[in-house]
C-alpha cells in the first residue's frame, strides 16, 4: 500500500492508545513513586556514605561491586543489542528487523543513559567522577572503554540512528499537529520525503551501520575486559569473559525486543507491521545465542575444574554448589525452559507470540542472574590469600535506587511511545513516494564537502585527542598532556558519527 506524502493518515494505532486509570497507575504513578523512593535512597547513600549499601570491602567478606555494576552491564548489553539490531537491519538489509529498528534504537539510547546512571550511583564520589573523568580519563583503563566510550559515543551514535530513521515519521507527526508538533518540525526540518532523500537516508544509515557495528562489538568487549583482564582475581580472569558477555548481551537484548514486540503486536495493533515471521526468526536467533552461551559456559566450567587452581576452584564451587548455587541453577533452568519453548517452535516452524514473549522475559531473568554470578562470587571467594569467604545480597538502598533508575526508563519509554510512532510508519503503510527532486551540481558538491569535512575533521580530532590522552611513546601511567583531552577524543568520534546526519540534512537547494 503506497501513500503520497501529502495525505495524512490517522496515527492513532501507531502510538500508545489512551490508557485508563489502571494504566495510569501502572505506567505513570508507580514509576513516579519508585523514582521518588530511589531519589530518597540515593540521598541517604550520599548523606551517610556507601556504608548504607550492602557493598563491602573485598577481603572483608564482601563485594565492592554489586547491584549497580550488575545492571550497568545489563543495560549496556541491552544497548549493544539494540544497536546491533538497528545496524544489522540496515547493513545486511534484513527487512524483517526494520519494524523493530526504532524500538531497538530508542532502547539503545535509553539503556545507555540508565547504564550511566548505574555507574554514577556506584561511585564513591559521583560529582568528582563527573568532573575528573572528562579531565583525566585514562585510555588504558578498561573503565574508559566500558563507560566513557560506550556511554559517550554509544549514546551519540544511537541518537543519530534514531534521528535519521525518525525524520520521515516526524514529518508526518508534524502535519498531524498536537502539542509536540514543534518538536517534530525541528526533527524533520528540511525533510521532503523525496526518493533522492530516502536514498540519502538509506546510504547514510548503511555507512553509519558499517562503522558502528564493529565499534559496538569492540566497545562492548571492553566491558568483558573490565573483568577478564584481571589476572589477580580468580573467577574473572579469562579470555572467554568478553565473548561470553557479548553473547549474554545478545540474549538479553533479543529477549527484551521480542517481549516488547510481542506486546506491540498483541495489544497495540502492530500485527500488520510486525509479522509473525519476525518472532519466528528472532526466536531462532535467540535459540542459537542461548546454545552458544551454554557451550561457552561449559567450556569455562570445564577449564576451571580441570585446572583445579585453588582460588578459581573456590569460586567455581561457590557458584555451582555453594552459596551462589541457587542463582546458578535458576539461571540454567530459565535458559533451558526458554530454549525448550523456542526449540518446539523451531520444530513446529511457527511462532506463538505469547510463548515467545515468555521466553524473552525468562532469558532476561537468566541474564540478570548471570551478571550477578560474574560480578559477585569472584569478589567474595576469589582470593589468592586466606581471606574469609563472604556473601553479598543487595540492600534496600541499592534496590530502591535501581528501581528508581529502571522506573525512569519505563516512564521515558511510555512517554516516547505516547508521542511518537514506535514502529516506523512505512511498516504500516508502505514506503512514501514523491516526485524525483532535482539537485544542482553545486549543492551536491556542498553536501560532499561538508560531510567529508565533518568526517575528516572528526577523525583528526579523535586522533589528536587519543594521542594526547594515551601519551603513546611515553611512560604509560601519566596524566593526559592536555587536561580534558579525553573529551577531545570522544568529541572527535561523535563528530565523525554526526557527519552521517550532515550528509542527510544539507537541503537539496
Amino acid at each position: 500500500m503506497k501513500h503520497s506524502a501529502g495525505s495524512v493518515t490517522p496515527l492513532q494505532p501507531l502510538r500508545l492508545p489512551k490508557i485508563g486509570p489502571l494504566g495510569i497507575i501502572v505506567w505513570v504513578v508507580i514509576p513516579l513513586v519508585l523514582i521518588a523512593i530511589g531519589i530518597y535512597a540515593f540521598a541517604q547513600q550520599r548523606l551517610h556514605g556507601d556504608v548504607v549499601t550492602n557493598m563491602r570491602s573485598v577481603g572483608d567478606g564482601g563485594a565492592a561491586w554489586g547491584l549497580y555494576i550488575m545492571f550497568d552491564i545489563f543495560f549496556v548489553g541491552l544497548a549493544a543489542t539494540g544497536i546491533a539490531v538497528s545496524t544489522g537491519a540496515h547493513l545486511f538489509r534484513i527487512r524483517d528487523l526494520r519494524p523493530l529498528a526504532r524500538i531497538a534504537e530508542f532502547l539503545a539510547v535509553l539503556s545507555l543513559i540508565l547504564a550511566g546512571m548505574c555507574v554514577m550511583a556506584d561511585q564513591g564520589r559521583p560529582m568528582a567522577a563527573l568532573w575528573k573523568l572528562p579531565q583525566f580519563a585514562r585510555v588504558m583503563s578498561p573503565f574508559f572503554g566500558s563507560f566513557t566510550l560506550i556511554v559517550g559515543v554509544g549514546v551519540a551514535a544511537s541518537l543519530v540512528m534514531l534521528y535519521l530513521g525518525g525524520r520521515g515519521d516526524a514529518a508526518w507527526c508534524a502535519r498531524a499537529g498536537g502539542p509536540f508538533s514543534w518538536v517534530y518540525r525541528i526533527w524533520a526540518s528540511g525533510y521532503r520525503g523525496t526518493d533522492r532523500e530516502l536514498l540519502r537516508h538509506r546510504r547514510a544509515r548503511f555507512w553509519l551501520s558499517l562503522t558502528f557495528f564493529p565499534f559496538i562489538v569492540i566497545a562492548y568487549s571492553t566491558l568483558g575486559f573490565v573483568f577478564g583482564t584481571q589476572g589477580g582475581r580468580p573467577g574473572w580472569f579469562g579470555a572467554l569473559r568478553a565473548p561470553s558477555m557479548l553473547i549474554v548481551a545478545g540474549i538479553s537484548g533479543v529477549g527484551l525486543l521480542l517481549a516488547i514486540a510481542g506486546v506491540l503486536h498483541r495489544y497495540l495493533g502492530a500485527h500488520n507491521a510486525i509479522p509473525v515471521r519476525v518472532f519466528q526468526r528472532l526466536g531462532n536467533v535467540l535459540l542459537i545465542l542461548i546454545s552458544v552461551f551454554l557451550y561457552l559456559l561449559a567450556v569455562e566450567t570445564l577449564t576451571e575444574r580441570y585446572a583445579g587452581q585453588t582460588a578459581a576452584l573456590r569460586v567455581a564451587d561457590a557458584v555451582t554448589f555453594g552459596v551462589y548455587a541457587p542463582a546458578f541453577w535458576t539461571m540454567l533452568a530459565l535458559l533451558f525452559v526458554s530454549m525448550g519453548i523456542l526449540f518446539v517452535q523451531f520444530l513446529a516452524r511457527k511462532a506463538l507470540i505469547g510463548w515467545t514473549v515468555i521466553a524473552g522475559l525468562l532469558v532476561n531473568g537468566a541474564a540478570i542472574l548471570r551478571r550477578f554470578l560474574v560480578v559477585v562470587p569472584a569478589q567474595t571467594h576469589g582470593h589468592h590469600l586466606d581471606y574469609p569467604a563472604g556473601f553479598y545480597v543487595p540492600g534496600w538502598i541499592e534496590v530502591a535506587v535501581l528501581l528508581g533508575i529502571i522506573s525512569i526508563g519505563v516512564l521515558a519509554f511510555v512517554a516516547f511511545m505516547r508521542c511518537f510512532p514506535i514502529v516506523p510508519l512505512h511498516a504500516y503503510y508502505g514506503r512514501m513516494r514523491n516526485v524525483l527532486e532535482p539537485e544542482t551540481q553545486g549543492r551536491i558538491l556542498l553536501r560532499r564537502v561538508l560531510t567529508t569535512g565533518s568526517m575528516v575533521g572528526g577523525l583528526a580530532l579523535g586522533a589528536v585527542g587519543l594521542a594526547l590522552s594515551a601519551r603513546f611513546g611515553t611512560e604509560p601511567f601519566l596524566d593526559p598532556i592536555v587536561p580534558f583531552s579525553p573529551v577531545i577524543f570522544i568529541a572527535g568520534i561523535v563528530m565523525t558519527i554526526y557527519s552521517a546526519a550532515v550528509y542527510v540534512i544539507v537541503p537539496p537547494g
Binding site: 563491602r56 573485598v58 561511585q123 583525566f136 585514562r138 589477580g232
Partner: protein
C-alpha cells in the same frame, strides 16, 4: 635606615632573594668543583622495599596500631568488623599452613602492608590516574582525584586497598593526636599504605640539609610499622643497595614474595620460619 629598609616589603624580598642566590651560587660552585659522596648517593636510583621475617614476628599487632596512628586511619571496632567496613592499611592476615607439626600452630599471622608492586594491577585500571607509580617506584595515591569507583580494590590480587565507606567523625579528644603530616581522606575514596612516604620525605630532606647520604640504619625502621615492631621483624630499605639489610634479607633462601606467578613483582618479601633454629 637599613632597619627601615629591611622592614619594608621590598627590602624583605631583596634580602630573601640575595640569600637564595648566595646559597645557589655556593652550591653550584661546590658541585662544579667536585660532586660530594652525599650528592652521588642521593642521585642513586632507589627501589624501596620491605622484608618481613616471620620467624621473628610474634603477631603482637604493634605494626597495625602504629600504622593506624601514624596515618590517621580511623579506628575500627567490632561493629566495623561485622559490617565488613574495617579500615586498615596494615593488617595481620591469618595464613593457614599445611603440614605444620612439632607443636606449631596451624596458623601464622602475615603482616600485610601494600606491596608497592613493580607491575601494579591497581595502577593499570585506575580510570583517572588517581593512583600511580611515583618517581621512587612507590604506588602513590592522589586522594582528591579518586572518584571512588573501587576498580583498584577489586583488581589488587592481595586485597590491600580499602574503600572509605563512611565519613569519619574524629572525636574531639582524638583530633589533637592526628598526624599533621598525613592528610585526612574524604569519604568515598580508596586508601592504602604509602610506605610512610611522608616520613621518607622528611628523612631525605634532613639528609639533604645535613649534606649526607641516608643511612641504611635510619631507613630500616623508617616506616611506622617497622619502628613499632618490638621483634624487629619488619625492615624497610633500598633494594637497589646490595649491602642494605633489606636486600640481604630478600636474598635469603628463606625469602619469598607472595604469588609471584601473577607477575605483579611485589616489593615486600617474607622470610619463612627458620625450622633449624628451633
Amino acid at each position: 635606615m637599613s632597619k627601615n629598609k629591611r622592614s619594608t616589603r621590598r627590602g624583605m624580598m631583596a634580602a630573601f632573594m640575595s640569600r637564595i642566590v648566595d646559597r645557589v651560587t655556593r652550591r653550584t660552585s661546590k658541585a662544579l668543583a667536585q660532586p660530594s659522596d652525599s650528592e652521588e648517593l642521593l642521585s642513586v636510583e632507589r627501589k624501596w622495599g620491605m622484608a618481613i621475617d616471620l620467624d621473628l614476628c610474634n603477631g603482637c599487632g604493634a605494626c597495625v596500631v602504629s600504622c593506624r596512628s601514624e596515618n590517621n586511619v580511623p579506628t575500627s571496632g567490632p561493629e566495623e568488623e561485622n559490617k565488613g567496613t574495617t579500615m586498615e592499611w596494615m593488617s595481620l592476615l591469618p595464613h593457614h599452613k599445611e603440614g605444620s607439626g612439632d607443636g606449631e600452630l596451624p596458623v601464622e599471622l602475615l603482616p600485610m602492608p601494600c606491596f608497592h608492586c613493580e607491575n601494579p594491577p591497581c595502577v593499570k585500571v585506575c580510570p583517572v590516574n588517581a593512583t600511580y607509580v611515583n618517581e621512587e617506584g612507590l604506588v602513590a595515591q592522589i586522594w582528591d582525584r579518586c572518584i571512588g569507583c573501587r576498580y583498584c580494590t577489586v583488581a589488587c590480587p592481595y586485597d590491600r586497598r580499602v574503600f572509605n565507606w563512611k565519613h569519619t567523625d574524629w572525636p574531639e579528644t582524638y583530633r589533637n593526636f592526628l598526624n599533621p603530616d598525613v592528610a585526612l581522606r574524604p569519604e568515598g575514596v580508596v586508601e592504602k599504605c604509602t610506605f610512610c612516604h611522608h616520613r621518607l620525605r622528611k628523612l631525605k630532606e634532613t639528609a639533604a640539609l645535613e649534606e649526607r647520604p641516608m643511612h641504611d640504619g635510619e631507613l630500616e625502621t623508617m616506616t611506622a610499622c617497622a619502628e613499632a615492631c618490638p621483634a624487629v621483624a619488619i625492615v624497610f630499605g633500598d633494594l637497589n643497595d646490595p649491602d642494605s639489610r633489606v636486600s640481604r634479607m630478600t636474598r635469603s633462601p628463606r625469602a619469598s614474595r607472595l604469588h609471584e606467578h601473577l607477575g605483579t613483582k611485589p616489593k615486600v618479601s617474607y622470610l619463612a620460619k627458620d625450622r633449624k633454629s628451633r
